[in-house]
Symmetry: C2
Subunit: 134 residues, 2 copies
DNA sequence: ATGACTGCAAAGACTTTGCATCTTT
DNA sequence: AAAGATGCAAAGTCTTTGCAGTCAT
């Protein structure tokens, strides 16, 4: 028997918050963000809904940065920059890995591909500025 | 004052095990692997040395897969395939993101880049076979 | 002898989960 | 009324850390 999904105000709010931000939030960030409007929200609910959204393919995990899982409501293949200093995750829309990558993996290895992530690590402009000030 | 590094038999063994395998191991895997030869090894030592190796740039983290951080002794930029079914991490040596990616991020965004990761997610051939058997 | 390295176990940190209650259909 | 969703808090996992003893230099 298939499990059905019902409407919930909190779920809607969590997804909306995901779609409003470009910060690639953590569960904790969403929780803090929504708390004023939903004082009785619990962190467990945020986690449960993020898991649901990911299973539905509505959001995607960008990976774990500094111990916190980061999520993205933009599920199209695009590149991220991760600042290893302040741990911000920034979209790099102009640069892509190329669509042929997945096809090539299919052909050469016989794997079934789902998606791919290109992530560039380094130091963002703001953190570079801070270095100079010290 | 700079902290100096001394020789240690366990450390050598951990690094050797890292370099011997292509499995992109977890700390736990290394611990289990080395336990027969080093019965008094502790998991904490494995974690401490992995952290040291990463700081030294001798190894690199491939990211967290299914809750476990995966490490790679090959620190050159190369592509990985992650099976979302069995969680194996497989090198894809023939396919690369292209070296110009980092340069482009530097120029367009003013970020300082360190390295980049291209990861393809999907189902590996062995897991595809298992699906058929069911 | 000094300071680094380790084992052990406790502590930390993020995430998941059980259960009673509330909400949606 | 039935079944999903939530709050709360406890439990679970992976990882880090404090401390005393051991080892390298």
């Amino acid at each position: 028997m298939e499990r059905t999904t019902r409407y919930s105000k909190k779920r809607e709010a969590i997804l909306e918050a995901m779609r409003m931000t470009k910060s690639h939030p953590t569960a904790e960030w969403l929780y803090q963000q929504l708390k004023p409007e939903h004082p009785d929200l619990s962190l467990g609910t945020v986690y449960r809904n993020l898991t649901l959204f990911r299973q539905q393919g509505v959001i995607r995990s960008v990976g774990v940065v500094d111990g916190h899982e980061r999520f993205d409501a933009n599920t199209e293949n695009h590149t991220h920059f991760v600042c290893t200093c302040c741990h911000s995750v920034i979209d790099i829309p102009d640069i892509a890995a190329g669509e042929q990558v997945e096809q090539q993996v299919c052909r050469q290895y016989g794997f079934r591909t789902d998606h791919h992530d290109l992530t560039v690590f380094g130091t963002c402009d703001q953190c570079i500025k801070k270095e100079v000030k010290q």
